[in-house]
């Protein structure tokens, strides 16, 4: 088994007659317990270690302002509203009117990127504003994912605001139509 063989018995030159051969002690060391312990420690450290250090994602929220003249204005052509619904479904519309025919559409987290890119390319960069409105059914992961999507697509201006009643009703109706409970 595990051992170091450092010469010891066997081999060696012949001594002259009468010279008594001293019996050499074996220098073999059984390394099995040491190896056992070594691997035990390795397993321990593998399990306790945290390899990937957590990262931090910046989030700047706007200050609540009551006066409408202090609020940021959004150009209708540049507005893109994303709503986060139940079951990881995303709803979005462009401009100001969610109820306009064909304007309110749904997407998944996979397909929303294409919509964002399309909007980014077709809009004047100075006017583009993404408005994120999570519903009460959205999860934290959805929120982080969509904020991440802003970073991924390098959207400079975006805001996270509360959803309005009209929009929430539309989300509800669409969800009911799609059979999401």
């Amino acid at each position: 088994m595990a051992s170091i063989d450092s010469g010891g018995d066997g081999g060696g030159h012949k001594k002259g007659p009468g010279v008594k051969k001293a019996k050499k002690m074996s220098t073999k060391v059984d390394m099995t317990p040491m190896v056992d312990l070594g691997f035990l420690l390795i397993t321990f450290f593998i399990f306790t270690t945290t390899m990937s250090q957590p990262t931090a994602m910046n989030l700047f929220m706007p200050k609540d302002v009551d006066k409408p003249e202090e609020q940021n204005k959004v150009k209708e052509s540049g507005a893109f509203t994303i709503m986060l619904g139940k079951d990881d479904v995303v709803y979005f519309y462009e401009g100001m009117d969610p109820a306009a025919p064909g304007n309110f559409r749904s997407a998944s987290f996979k397909t929303i990127r294409d919509e964002i890119i399309r909007k980014k390319q077709s809009t004047n960069p100075e006017d583009l504003v993404m408005i994120i409105k999570p519903t009460i059914d959205a999860t934290y992961k959805n929120t982080v994912d969509i904020l991440d999507e802003m970073t991924i697509n390098e959207i400079k201006r975006y805001a996270m605001v509360d959803i309005s009643d009209v929009e929430y009703q539309l989300v509800k109706i669409t969800e009911a139509a799609a059979g999401i409970k």
Binding site: M1, G38, I42, T48, L59, Y140, K141, D148, T151, I152
Partner: protein, 222 residues
């Protein structure tokens, strides 16, 4: 029949290189390891492409677990002491020195003020305390005034006055958005609008704008 005598070798092979490698790995893990701080609740953070390292100093962390329970924790024992002392006075919690010491050493706290005393009077060494820490009901924050979390944040800002306080929010993947919003609200009421969300690292998806920018940075840096 001529018999060939086969010399028997001992069936042991030399394990020295094997042991060398094993101990090399062992020393690597020993040096690279950083122990997970013990948390009363398990929180699985979502991934993000953000590459900012998490600040370790002057951090005030609010954790939200998947049921929406809110916990707070801080890094600096001195600030913890300042915080609990002023809390004790302003809110009349009636904590003794031993209970305050327990607060300083506690991993994270998530109980209403009314139950803080009974939680902190538990023996930190006892096994039942660990269970009690897991059973904490969370700091109330689910109303428009931000509940008790607002008070905690306000006092923490005082305790860290003079330093730049990093406000960390750590939340579980499946936490519902309203719980997260309540926490944001409690911060907003204290005029705090800059947060750091704790996430796990992830690469930028290939072909996207961020990916292209990062590739440029890498090649430009050379």
């Amino acid at each position: 029949m001529p018999s060939v005598k086969i010399k028997k070798h001992a069936p042991d092979n030399d394990m020295t290189p094997f042991v060398d490698v094993a101990f090399l790995i062992l020393s690597f893990f020993m040096l690279a390891t950083k122990f997970k701080p013990e948390e009363p609740v398990e929180v699985t953070t979502p991934n993000s492409v953000s590459s900012t390292a998490l600040p370790e100093k002057d951090a005030f962390m609010v954790s939200i677990d998947k049921d929406g329970r809110v916990f707070i924790s801080m890094d600096n024992p001195q600030s913890r002491q300042l915080l609990i002392q002023s809390m004790n006075q302003t809110r009349g919690l009636g904590l003794g020195p031993a209970e305050m010491k327990n607060f300083i050493n506690a991993p994270s706290v998530g109980v209403p003020f009314s139950k803080l005393k009974s939680l902190l009077s538990l023996d930190p060494e006892a096994e039942s305390t660990k269970e009690a820490l897991k059973q904490q009901e969370g700091i109330p924050c689910a109303d428009s005034t931000g509940g008790e979390l607002t008070t905690w944040v306000r006092e923490a800002l005082v305790a860290y006055s003079g330093k730049k306080l990093n406000l960390l929010i750590k939340s579980d993947n499946s936490t519902k958005y309203p719980s997260f919003k309540n926490v944001l609200n409690a911060f907003k009421l204290n005029d705090q609008n800059k947060f750091l969300l704790v996430t796990s690292p992830e690469d930028a998806p290939a072909g996207t704008a961020l990916y292209v920018t990062r590739q440029k940075q890498i090649s430009g840096g050379k």
